[in-house]
């Protein structure tokens, strides 16, 4: 089956084409096409996973472009299937399938329903293509396609200016990261002449690549990952991306978009692993992001925003895991996170569906109205907080363990602090939304449990959030699947485990004290920590900084360039005039170096000559004839005199 793994992305591609071309004629605008094709892809992906787990694999290479005939340069495309690919294929198709199923209920009645399903299929296709890519260029192509799909989905409610802005922001921000990725490709290509992962690995293994090339190439690729995986400092698009429909958020956050960045690093891990400097930067960015995003999440009041920042934070963990040299742990966290983050978003969607608001201060006590949603949320929340035996615990613990044993223990402590904050804000959300007294009775009265299409995915994911971690570790399944020769076998460290679990429990306790009981006065805390509160509330002013330092200057530059271009004409005329004056007074040099300059000079000259000569063009035949005759006579005389 692995030989034909291209079928997996082909199915959603087909579904996209079908829905795009014939959505008006399909029942329910083609939603069932999308769901069934994705389900088929999921089944196929499971088959591939099973095969790969039993030692199969595939690598198919096709020529893509050949340049030159004497010493031809060949660029190939192809796909490869190994453990990393297989697990990602399963996760992506699985989450995508559940999200599409869920959307049946959530998006029901949307006016661009068909288009929504089409784009979801396209999104899935791009992500699957990315996962299968066997070289950097193919990966880059799908990387960009993922960006476009997210752009379309985030901008789904394009009547809203905020959605428009968010869509553009997502695309541009990730594209800035892609610039780094692209430059990384350029560096590696010009040094090695190949972009295929296996060839790069071989070359690096032989030591045929200069260390600085590896480091710069890796850092470039890291740029792409930072953009897509919303790492600091390119994280700004992800919270805004909440403008998209909630199931899309689930998809973006769990399986497709943001996972792409982490996957990129994992896929090109041989490059990173060969460069300690690059790995250090990876770890640093991961740790900083994990902590930084967690601080912001603690003060957000929009339910989806909290989850968004928590995603950024968790992605930081994954990147940290990769950075400290543990590929398996990073990918493990990616997988478990896919389960519980998709779950959390879908429950959030369910809550929003029921209450028609995202503002947590208008909720409260909803567990009575929405029991399935509430319970599954708690399962996801505990997994997020990393409490044993939930899924998140295993993966987070693994990352922290590696960090603890790495060269830079500071990253470990940052991770612990972030874990504490994670538990705190998760508890905060749980209490604000599901427990306590309803704060908006009107909304509370109208709140209702969601239809089965929405709750079934919740239950499936809920179960996985509880047992997923342990399940994947059964028989060392996961570590065998994604194997990267670790420097040393790490034995479980009770201190690390204790600290991780302890910080999580402490976070829950603090959250309970603040939100579950009235023991701590929130206003007093806010007042005491007011500068910090403001800082977190305004997301460390990163958006403002970018606006001021990048967006405005670029727009200003564009306006300036446009002005120069449009007014070059005037400028030149004036310049010519001024230059004439300057020349006549013997004062200065002639300056025509403005756009349009020389040409307009010629034009002006032509006009002047035209003015002078137009008098002769009276339109009278005889005048022309006279001129002709005189010229002939003059020519005759000249010819005679000169020619002798």
């Amino acid at each position: 089956m692995a030989q034909y793994a291209w079928v997996i992305p082909a199915l959603p591609l087909l579904s996209w084409l079908i829905i795009t071309l014939w959505q008006k004629r399909l029942p329910d605008r083609g939603s069932y096409v999308g769901i069934s094709f994705t389900f088929l892809a999921f089944v196929y992906a499971l088959g591939v996973l099973w095969e790969v787990a039993h030692g199969a694999g595939a690598h198919v290479v096709l020529p893509w472009a050949v340049i030159g005939t004497i010493s031809p340069i060949q660029i190939n495309i192809g796909f490869q299937v190994d453990g990393l690919t297989a697990i990602m294929l399963s996760v992506v198709t699985f989450i995508s399938f559940l999200v599409q199923l869920y959307s049946l209920g959530y998006m029901h009645g949307d006016k661009r329903y068909g288009r929504y399903y089409g784009t979801l299929s396209f999104f899935t296709f791009s992500m699957l293509g990315l996962v299968l890519a066997d070289n950097l260029i193919t990966l880059f192509i799908f990387f960009e396609l993922v960006g476009v799909a997210s752009y379309l989905l985030i901008g789904h409610y394009f009547e809203r200016p905020s959605a428009q802005k968010a869509a553009i922001k997502a695309f541009i921000t990730t594209r800035i990261g892609d610039v780094g990725f692209f430059i990384g490709i350029l560096i590696l290509w010009s040094a090695t002449g190949t972009v295929a992962f296996d060839k790069l690995a071989a070359l690096i293994g032989e030591g045929a690549v200069a260390p600085w090339v590896i480091t710069l190439g890796a850092l470039g690729i890291l740029g792409g990952a930072v953009g897509k995986s919303a790492q600091f400092p390119l994280h700004v698009w992800l919270p805004d991306a909440m403008e998209g429909p909630t199931p899309v958020s689930a998809l973006i956050h769990a399986a497709t978009m943001v996972a792409a960045g982490v996957y990129l690093v994992a896929r090109s891990y041989m490059i990173f692993y060969a460069s300690p400097q690059a790995l250090f930067w990876v770890a640093l960015i991961g740790a900083v992001t994990a902590l930084f995003a967690a601080t912001i999440a603690t003060v957000q009041t929009d339910m989806k925003k909290v989850l968004a920042y928590s995603t950024i934070s968790q992605l930081g963990y994954m990147i940290l895991g990769l950075g400290v040299g543990n590929l398996t742990a990073g990918m493990f966290h990616l997988t478990t996170h896919a389960f519980f983050k998709a779950l959390l978003f879908l429950t959030a969607g369910s809550v929003i569906h029921g209450t028609e608001t995202q503002e947590m201060h208008q909720m409260g006590g909803l567990i009575k109205k929405m029991p399935i949603t509430g319970v599954t949320f708690l399962a996801g929340g505990l997994a997020l907080a990393g409490i044993w035996p939930f899924a998140g615990f295993y993966s987070k613990d693994e990352i922290l363990l590696t960090a603890y044993n790495s060269q830079y223990p500071i990253f470990f402590w940052m991770g612990i602090l972030a874990a504490f904050l994670t538990a705190y804000y998760t508890t905060r959300v749980a209490f604000l939304v599901f427990f306590g007294e309803p704060r908006d009775h009107h909304r509370y009265e109208h709140a209702h449990e969601s239809p089965w299409m929405m709750t079934v995915p919740l239950v499936i994911l809920g179960i996985l959030a509880v047992i997923g971690g342990k399940l994947l570790l059964t028989g060392e399944f996961f570590p065998h699947l994604i194997l990267w020769q670790p420097a040393e076998e790490l034995s479980p460290n009770p201190l690390v485990m204790g600290l991780a679990l302890g910080s999580g429990l402490l976070g829950i306790l603090v959250g309970y004290l603040v939100y579950g009981t009235k023991l701590v006065n929130r206003q007093a805390v806010i007042k005491a920590l007011y500068p910090l509160y403001q800082l977190f509330k305004h997301k460390w002013y990163v958006d403002e900084l970018y606006d001021w330092a990048i967006v405005r200057p670029v727009l200003w530059l564009a306006e300036a360039a446009g002005w120069v271009d449009a007014h070059g004409v005037d400028g030149v005329v004036n310049a010519v005039g001024a230059a004439g004056v300057a020349l006549s007074s013997g004062a200065g040099a002639f300056d025509l170096a403005v756009v349009d300059g020389a040409v307009n000079g010629v034009a002006a000259g032509t006009v002047a000559v035209g003015r002078a000569t137009r008098r002769t063009e009276t339109g009278q035949l005889q005048a022309y004839l006279l001129t002709l005759a005189l010229v002939v006579v003059a020519g005759l005389i000249v010819f005679q005199v000169m020619g002798g």
């Binding site: 063009e617 009276t618 339109g619 009278q620 035949l621 005889q622 004839l625 006279l626 005759a629």
Partner: protein, 102 residues
């Protein structure tokens, strides 16, 4: 014997008269006539050159035949245009017609 030079001078003066006429008169038909004079002057030149410089060859005469043909065509179309313009605009003086300016 008449020399080639004699014919050439005759033609030159005939042409000069035609040129004067084409320039000095305003009546379009008169201008056409003046042009005919010039064409005839050219023909004299052609035939004279042919007979004196390339005896035995008739190229010059052939040219003259064509010139006459063109002259006939020109007269026909030219007169038609003149009449048309005169009918439509009521003038035949070329200095009052400056269509070519536009």
């Amino acid at each position: 014997m008449v020399s080639l030079h004699g014919y050439l001078v005759l033609a030159a003066f005939l042409f000069g008269l035609g040129l004067y006429g084409a320039l000095a008169r305003t009546n379009a038909i008169r201008i056409l006539m003046a042009i005919e004079l010039m064409l005839n002057a050219v023909n004299i030149n052609l035939v004279a050159f042919a007979q004196y410089l390339t005896p035995g060859l008739v190229t010059g005469a052939v040219f003259a035949v064509f010139v006459i043909t063109v002259a006939a065509a020109e007269a026909a179309v030219g007169l038609a245009i003149v009449l048309l313009v005169a009918r439509q605009r009521g003038v035949i003086e070329v200095d009052k017609i400056n269509l070519m300016k536009w």
